[in-house]
């Protein structure tokens, strides 16, 4: 009646199987070319290049953070269905630690005391330096100089310290989960799962605290005047969504290349697809709420941020693309059981959402490249090409990092106590 599968891994290959040795140099070459091309495209100017670099960096960082959240929440809720896809997420989460190296170019501009990326990083920065549009309104705002207000938080050493702390915390959490999970592959000790679960609760608090301030630091402080309490949630929604897409794409690829066979079934894809749709809606909900509140109250200190993105011709188009592409299209692409159980459609949706996720970060970061109004570069074909080549390069390096982290490690947990539940998982 019930064909209960034994809780055993049956795939012939469950690791990258030396494939990574070939992949790493290839990926690094592609990465170098991509980043080189983007440098050439922006004429070797450090500022436009670093902004595009920041967009691409936020893209991969958010994927890793989303995966870290995935692992944490799965342990926290004692989820069984996801046991077989959890390893992929653990590996991606582990990439956060080396990602710190990729943040160094930006961190160096901060430490060297220039305002190449963060406009608050020079002495005596004021509102005027920050006001992209409607400078006349803001110039009259009765506020003291920004530096006086926010200098205690936005200064280079405190910033650097915080960034180091974030990466240490993220790397530490990812390492803890991965180490226990890998140890379980060998010993099959149930206590390791119990330990992961026990630590997942405090880790969740740490994760929440770090992602809140990391999003403030890395992206929100690009416009030091602007503030929104919702911003971390917005950042998180996009991060988790892109992580789900990445996990799904990786699993599909691993199955296609025969590295993992029937450990991951269509039921898992169906569930990931459901979560993707859920978080597409969640992203839309958060994005809309943040926009509506600022649009409705129309307070100059915060409304200029949206004014720039909604009323400037080029950014307006990009905002509309986000609305349609990040919300409506994926919503309908993932609607319905039939659509969510079709591997090709799922691949298309996941790739599409990831593209939109990049657009999202482009939209968050790039308007602040030259605050004084001239946005032709960011909105030109060259600008987008610069960003895209930088993104391709960054993704290639990220793949290299993933291979480096993964090496010959198993791609599914071999002796997870909930393996049976995951293998026999069925979506009702």
């Amino acid at each position: 009646m019930h064909n209960t599968r034994p809780a055993k891994i049956t795939s012939p290959i469950t690791s990258l199987n030396e494939g990574y040795v070939r992949t790493i140099p290839l990926a690094l070459i592609v990465g170098a070319i991509g980043i080189g091309v983007s440098l050439v495209l922006c004429g070797f100017q450090s500022k436009p290049f670093l902004y595009n670099y920041l967009v691409a960096f936020c893209f991969v960082l958010s994927i890793s953070l989303g995966c870290l959240f995935f692992v944490t929440i799965m342990h926290l809720t004692r989820a069984g269905w996801s046991a077989t896809v959890r390893r992929v997420a653990e590996l991606y989460a582990m990439c956060t630690f080396p990602l710190f190296l990729l943040f160094l170019p930006i961190l160096l501009t901060v430490i060297s005391g220039t305002d190449t990326v963060y406009s608050w990083n020079v002495e005596g920065y004021t509102i005027h330096a920050d006001a992209e549009t409607k400078a006349d309104i803001l110039a009259n705002a009765p506020l003291p100089p920004l530096e006086q207000l926010k200098g205690a938080f936005l200064n280079k050493w405190f910033f650097t310290g915080r960034i180091v702390a974030y990466f240490l915390i993220w790397g530490g959490m990812a390492f803890f989960f991965l180490k226990n999970s890998l140890a379980q592959d060998v010993s099959g000790d149930k206590k390791l799962t119990a330990r992961n679960q026990a630590f997942s609760a405090p880790f969740m608090i740490l994760f929440a605290a770090t992602i809140v301030f990391a999003s403030f630091d890395i992206e929100m402080s690009l416009s030091p005047l602007w503030f929104s309490t919702m911003f971390p949630v917005y950042f998180f929604a996009g991060a988790f969504l892109s992580a789900l897409c990445t996990i799904m794409l990786t699993c599909l690829w691993l199955q296609r290349t025969g590295r993992v066979t029937d450990e991951i079934t269509i039921e898992h894809y169906h569930d990931l697809g459901k979560l993707m749709q859920g978080f597409v809606i969640f992203w839309g909900y958060i994005a809309f709420s943040q926009f509506l509140l600022i649009w409705y109250a129309n307070i100059p200190e915060e409304t200029f941020w949206y004014d720039l993105r909604i009323n400037q011709p080029g950014w307006k188009g990009l905002s509309l693309i986000l609305l349609v592409g990040h919300l409506f299209i994926p919503f309908f692409l993932l609607m319905g059981r039939g659509l969510r159980r079709n591997r090709i459609l799922l691949t298309i949706s996941a790739v599409f959402i990831l593209c939109m996720h990049w657009v999202d970060h482009y939209w968050l970061v790039m308007p602040h490249l030259n605050p004084h109004g001239d946005h032709t570069f960011q909105l030109s074909g060259t600008g987008f090409l610069t960003g895209i080549s930088c993104l391709v390069g960054m993704i290639a390096i990220y793949i290299a990092l993933f291979c480096l982290v993964t090496r010959n490690r198993p791609l599914v947990p071999l002796q997870d106590p909930r393996l049976g539940e995951a293998l026999n998982h069925e979506v009702h």
Binding site: F288, F291, L292, Y296, N298, G336, H428
Partner: protein
């Protein structure tokens, strides 16, 4: 070994099918699979909870319910947005009987999509939920309160802990004895005949009458409501919040209330009190027209004091309407040409005038009186983009304003008091003495020799034709809504 539940198997009842009982869900699913493989199509299974795996076993196709809900939801988008668009933007072009009601709130457009999303969303959810709820019952052909199955006592455990498979008589492959044998073979614990009682189809005789009465009774409330809506009624209305309808106060010209001790509140028994000796009614001290209106004391014209007050009030409430008519018949000779008695022009008065001028007048006319106040500048700029209509503030150095013949002192005072053209009245904000102080200050300003704007460009361009009284009167402007 059919266990006959029904005692009457005669022609009063009709065989509907055979109902086999199973004790656990797995054997039910197995039996369903067997029945499907044996070629039965008109089958159904009954269980206390949804049994996993029974849909493929019975060959149940996926319901169309999601598509019904989806189409309703898409329709609801249009209804939700349309409702908000119609009620908040349309002003009678579509249906004159029920026009919409456009009004501005916090500078938002009448139809502002972000603000209309929440209600649209709720409308979508509400109609989709109705579609799912009612669609499900309709597709399930429920409510159906009479079902032959409910007559089988064993079937009562279908909602408790037993599982049943029904093979209908209407099925092509149904055969009373062989089907029963098959069911037994598939592990049925017990088999019942399901029979429909044909005599039961007749409704009880009293039912129609009761139903008709009930339906008629249901009509009573709406009829009563419609009747009361369409008729006048002499009965006293219901009083909610009685202390609003019957306030604890005495009205004018009535008897004062009686106190607890039987005494009247006032000895003269009047509710109204006479004014205290020597009190003067509001506005009755304004007899000195020179002081209070800038009009000569000996001026006797059709414009009495009372109509003058009336016109000022009208101009307060209706804006420009009477201004258009008034200037044509204006008699300039009525205005005083000197300061009234009691107003002494000295440095103190001028300082006071400057102070008041800078507070009240400069916003439009500018500190120099040249019509370049901040409000005026902004409004002219806005008017240039078509976002507002505006008549530019008059320069006080304009020859017409300066000319004592066309603008005697009294007329300046009158302009400040009652407004002129688009300029509003300042009578209620500025005291009489201060208004005279402003007049003095304006006259002093005019002596400074500041040139009005445009005078450098074409000083000789002005002809008497241009200086028609209408143009003369556009003093401080006001935006038209």
């Amino acid at each position: 070994m059919a266990e006959e539940n029904q005692t009457n198997t005669n022609e009063d009842s009709k065989l509907v099918g055979l109902l086999a009982q199973f004790d656990d869900p797995d054997s039910l699913v197995a039996a369903c699979n067997n029945a499907r493989e044996a070629g039965y199509t008109k089958t159904d299974a009954y269980s206390p909870f949804p049994v996993h795996g029974i849909d493929p076993a019975l060959g149940i196709k996926r319901s169309i319910l999601p598509f019904i809900v989806l189409s309703i939801a898409l329709g609801a988008v249009c209804i939700g947005l349309g409702m908000q668009w119609y009620t908040n933007t349309d002003s009678g072009t579509i249906s004159p009987a029920f026009p919409g009601y456009p009004f501005k709130i916090s500078g938002k457009p009448y139809f502002s999509l972000p603000a209309n999303i929440p209600v649209t969303f709720e409308v979508i959810v509400l109609s989709s939920a109705f579609a799912a709820f009612f669609g499900m019952w309709i597709l399930n052909k429920l409510p159906m309160l009479s079902n032959p199955l409910h007559r089988i006592s064993r079937f009562k455990r279908a909602t408790n802990d037993k599982f049943f498979l029904m093979i209908e008589e209407a099925d092509e492959k149904f055969d009373r004895s062989s089907t029963e044998a098959q069911l037994n073979q598939w592990g049925a614990v017990a088999i019942d005949e399901c029979r429909q009682d044909l005599t039961d189809n007749v409704l009880p005789s009293w039912f129609r009458l009761v139903a008709l009465m009930g339906a008629l009774m249901l009509l009573i409330p709406p009829v009563v409501i419609f009747r009361s809506m369409g008729m006048t009624n002499r009965a006293p209305r219901l009083h909610f919040m009685p202390d609003m309808d019957w306030q604890e106060k005495s009205k004018t010209q009535t008897v004062a209330p009686t106190m607890v001790d039987g005494e009247n509140l006032f000895l003269d028994m009047r509710a109204m009190r006479a004014p205290v000796e020597g009190s003067v009614a509001w506005d009755h001290l304004n007899a000195d027209t020179e002081m209070h209106q800038g009009i000569k004391r000996d001026y006797k014209a059709v414009t009495s004091v009372s109509t003058k007050t009336g016109s000022a009030l009208t101009s307060l409430t209706t804006g420009q309407e009477d201004d258009a008519a008034a200037p044509a018949e204006e008699d300039l000779s009525k205005y005083v040409t000197a300061f009234p008695v009691g107003i002494e022009v000295n440095a103190e008065l001028l300082a006071r005038g400057q102070n008041r001028f800078n507070i009240y007048c400069s916003v439009c006319h500018g500190y120099s009186g040249n019509g370049d106040g901040l409000v005026n500048q902004r409004a002219v700029a806005l008017a240039g983009t078509g976002k507002a209509t505006w008549t530019a503030a008059k320069s006080l150095h304009d020859p017409i304003v300066k000319d004592p013949a066309q603008n005697p002192l009294g007329r300046l005072f009158d302009t400040i008091s009652n407004g002129r053209s688009m300029m509003g009245p300042y009578k209620s904000q500025i005291s009489v003495e201060d208004r005279w102080a402003i007049v003095a200050y304006v006259k002093a300003l005019q002596e400074t020799g500041i040139k009005p704007p445009g005078s450098e460009v074409s000083p000789a361009a002005k002809t008497p034709a241009d200086e028609a009284p209408e143009a003369d009167d556009s003093a401080i402007p006001k935006p038209t809504p």
